[in-house]
């Protein structure tokens, strides 16, 4: 998502140093409290760097690891400026504390929106550099030399002229007594020796031997296991329960009834699941018992004919439209989508009289803590969260509903309880990407050149609930991101019509966020416009992007990589897309084969990314590769439907995803750059939808206005 609201870094950038408890140096940021006073100076600040007298360097990482390489990249930034090797660092998850670890743009403790590295880029380097400068000053004082004659190297300060060296460990106490230097100079990219290099990931060795601990692996002493079922009709409640049979299952300890869910607590998960299956529950289905997908789609369609609020406007679309020789008009529909992170939703909680402990993997820790406090009735400071590795996030773990649920269950249980959702529960009680509809209208002059671009967007305002600072003047700033692409339209008008799902049907963020809807809409329209103008989709885009050098560069590179223009066989086609969002510039070319029966196979995807300085180019590649696979899965198969208020899908059989045999060959090229880093988790996903449908268009002449791709629409189209 775009960084539109600017919460400035300076809001929280009091860098401080202090002596660590037990000796040593501690560097962190002091957060001014609401009144502008700095907080109690005896409180430990959010230590980014702690060096003790043995030389152990512990660093606290504010952004969670969910496979995107966050730990490695953050460690690279710190190690670079600290002048140590990554292997010298001991990495720790930041605890839940929104005052200390908020993302500078979001204003809350969030890892998501491809924004983690952009948030860490400056503060982490500054923390590392400040630590290094303090240590250098301490050594210079000891040796009575000018600090400028000393250098830092691999955990030591060196005075080359005299050959003296001192280990950081021997300097920390002296350094802790020095005042924090202001405006420490950061390295320039040409001085980097760790940043920008494909250094080995730090989180992976334990992920190939079973030792890595995900949230689902937490086993606090005495833990019991819960299987849970929320009312299958969203928004419904528990009616009556007959637990006679469930209680007879060996290992079942207890049945817990919540307002909207039941849980069976047992000695192990299987007993809990058997108990749940044996539990007879009648549900009060509530107001949504008749909701179905058809009605939800009809509501969004109808909303397309309602006036919305203006989201963006440049020039004068109305006046120009009066002069248009013709119009291009198209309507697009995107389905509801589930996340299907590999690790099903789970949370372990232990509620005591005066405290609550939680073991979980969550992208939004501070929210998790707030919700746990509310659910337990305990004050915030009595909540401890042990964050774990995440077995995929994709936006699902930006919510913390499951933390609240686990706490509500744990309130009834003696000792810790691990709540694991079945895959079906995980799918059916997701925070879905909701239906999104769009109407595009482009005014064309007599030569079919665009003179105006209007886009009406229909969808929910996820930000109004999830991050209100991104909901301004009744416009969800995420849903409208890149809604006109990055094209040089002389006149633009974007309108937003808010449509919310029925209460109880939860919607949230899905990988690629706003861009994953709008890239599809805009890049499909552009392809159609190229066709209408009788131009090649690549050259047409080039003309419209003449003033965007970074996009031009990626689009030219990807065309070269994909050998754009060389012939492909019958039933095959290439499609191109570009995207400028998350601070990164991405172009993709997909190659598809469409069979006579309309089946689509995505054979290859080429992707060129300019994400500014790639802190770790190999991780950038991996993120784009993964994002593309995630997007192709959704383009081909992603569709969640509702009947009688229930989600109709539940597992990998009715929510098919790409597997080894049908995954395209993917080639990612990272453009070298020294610009500030952009996000790379989302754009791979967002840009691949139109690359694929444009390739289908090239292969068959059939434009798809709806996702997922429907083979029946392509049957006999060759």
């Amino acid at each position: 998502m775009s960084d539109t609201p600017s919460h400035q870094l300076s809001r929280r950038s009091f860098l401080i140093s202090t002596a660590a408890a037990g000796g040593g140096l501690l560097i962190g940021f002091r957060v001014p409290s609401a009144g502008g006073q700095s907080m109690d100076p005896t409180l430990e600040p959010n230590a980014f760097v702690r060096i003790d007298r043995t030389g152990a360097i512990r660093v606290t990482l504010p952004y969670v690891e969910m496979g995107q390489g966050a730990y490695t990249a953050q460690a690279q930034l710190l190690a670079e400026e600290l002048e140590v090797e990554i292997g010298q660092l001991t990495l720790e998850h930041a605890p839940a504390n929104e005052a200390l670890y908020s993302h500078p743009v979001f204003g809350d403790q969030i890892t998501g929106g491809s924004a983690g590295l952009r948030g860490a880029w400056e503060p982490l380097r500054r923390a590392g550099a400040t630590t290094r400068v303090l240590l250098t000053q301490a050594a210079a004082r000891r040796w009575r030399v000018a600090p400028s004659t000393c250098t830092a190297e691999r955990g030591e300060i060196v005075h080359a002229r005299s050959g003296r060296r001192a280990r950081y460990a021997d300097l920390v106490d002296a350094a802790a007594r020095l005042p924090v230097p202001k405006n420490v100079a950061l390295k320039s990219p040409d001085q980097f020796r760790i940043v920008g290099k494909p250094v080995k990931r730090v989180d992976t060795p334990d992920k190939v031997n079973g030792k890595a601990r995900f949230g689902i692996d937490a086993l606090p002493t005495g833990v019991k296991f819960a299987a849970v079922a929320a009312c299958p009709v969203f928004g419904g409640q528990v009616g009556t329960i007959d637990d006679t049979a469930a209680k007879r299952i060996r290992g079942v300890r207890q049945i817990v009834r919540l307002e909207d869910a039941v849980a069976v607590i047992a000695d192990h998960t299987w007993a809990a699941r058997k108990g749940l299956a044996a539990l007879k529950v009648s549900w009060n289905e509530g107001a949504n018992a008749n909701v179905d997908t058809k009605a939800l789609i009809a509501e969004c369609d109808a909303a397309l004919d309602r006036p919305g609020v203006t989201a963006t406007t440049h020039g004068d679309v109305q006046a120009v439209e009066a002069q248009a020789a013709s119009f291009y008009e198209a309507q697009f529909r995107l389905p509801m989508l589930a996340h299907l992170a590999m690790e099903p939703i789970n949370c372990t909680a232990h509620v005591r009289k005066d405290s609550c402990e939680i073991w979980v993997g969550c992208q939004r820790l501070a929210l998790a803590r707030r919700m746990a406090a509310e659910a337990s009735g305990l004050p915030l400071e009595r909540i401890t969260i042990h964050n774990h590795l995440l077995g995929g996030g994709f936006g699902r773990r930006l919510e913390a509903d499951y933390v609240a649920q686990a706490v509500r269950i744990a309130r009834h249980v003696e000792g810790p309880v691990k709540v694991i959702w079945s895959r079906e529960e995980d799918v059916q009680h997701d925070y879905f990407r909701y239906h999104n509809h769009s109407r595009v209208r482009v005014g064309l002059d007599a030569n079919n050149a665009p003179i105006s671009f209007s886009h009406k967007i229909v969808g929910p305002a996820v930000m109004a609930r999830w991050l209100p600072v991104f909901f301004q003047n009744n416009v969800d700033l995420d849903i409208i991101s890149v809604s006109a692409g990055t094209y040089a339209w002389p006149n633009v008008h974007v309108e937003y019509v808010r449509v919310e799902p029925p209460t109880g049907l939860n919607v949230g963020n899905w990988r690629g966020v706003g861009a994953s809807r709008n890239a599809f809409v805009v890049e499909s329209a552009i392809d159609d416009l190229a066709k209408r103008a009788g131009k090649d989709p690549l050259s047409y885009r080039r003309e419209l992007l003449a003033k965007s050098p970074r996009l031009l560069n990626v689009i030219n590179k990807v065309a070269e990589l994909a050998q754009w223009g060389t012939p492909l066989g019958a039933g095959r086609g290439r499609g191109i897309s570009v995207l400028d969002d998350f601070g990164s510039y991405v172009a993709q070319v997909a190659e598809v084969t469409v069979s006579r029966s309309g089946q689509v196979r995505v054979d290859r995807v080429f992707c060129v990314v300019d994400c500014g300085l790639a802190v770790n180019p190999d991780i950038v590649k991996a993120q784009l590769e993964g994002g593309i696979v995630y997007g192709v899965s959704a383009a081909l198969h992603g569709k969640i439907t509702v009947a009688e208020g229930r989600i109709q899908q539940g597992n990998f059989d009715d929510c098919p995803v790409l597997r080894m045999h049908d995954t395209p060959r993917i080639e990612v090229h990272v453009v070298p750059s020294a610009e500030a880093p952009g996000g790379v988790g989302e754009p791979g996903t967002a840009a691949v939808f139109p690359a694929v449908t444009n390739a289908i268009f090239a292969a068959t002449g059939k434009r798809l206005f709806e996702l997922p791709i429907d083979p029946t629409q392509l049957r006999n189209s060759l």
């Binding site: 992976t204 190939v208 192990h268 992170a341």
Partner: protein, 161 residues
């Protein structure tokens, strides 16, 4: 019902109903959490273990069916040369993202290489398509399997099988 299970060469006595899937015995009773739960119905491969050398989905393998079979999990992968080669290739090529599926991927790959020293792309597809990875690491998994196969072939003494 009390039953003895041989897991990674160690005998464990567990007392669970005989229909209990091995997955939950490993994770909840024995405390070996490297084997993962992903779907519960043999659709994703996250729970793959070796039973007498054969890859099986632990989520649908009841303890009753095990008898005194030898069960090996991801925690013991490094005890075999194939396992070590695969782990090395996985790290060399930076296959892993979130890592949640990778125990299962590695166990499937180990079984593949144990039976087929030089798998073709089609062989890899056949065996590995049972393992879902939502982070999309398939391309690297394929490359890592090939690298490991290569390494094993070149370190195996001539004639030794």
């Amino acid at each position: 019902m009390s039953q003895q299970l041989s897991i990674n060469g160690v005998t464990h006595t567990v007392d669970v109903d005989e229909d209990t899937p091995l997955l939950w015995v490993l994770r909840d009773v024995v405390g070996l959490t490297g084997t993962k739960f992903g779907c519960g119905i043999a659709l994703c491969g996250a729970c793959t273990v070796h039973i007498d050398g054969v890859p099986r989905r632990a989520c649908i393998t009841s303890v009753k069916s095990l008898g005194n079979a030898s069960i090996r999990t991801i925690e013991a992968l490094e005890t075999t040369p194939v396992g070590r080669s695969l782990q090395k290739a996985w790290l060399d090529l930076e296959v892993v993202q979130c890592g949640y599926c990778q125990s299962g991927q590695l166990m499937s790959a180990a079984a593949l290489l144990a039976g087929n020293a030089a798998p073709s792309d089609a062989d890899i597809d056949t065996v590995m398509s049972g393992n879902v990875c939502r982070c999309g690491t398939y391309g690297r998994i394929r490359a890592a399997i090939k690298q490991a196969a290569n390494e094993i072939q070149h370190t195996t003494p001539e004639g030794a099988q």
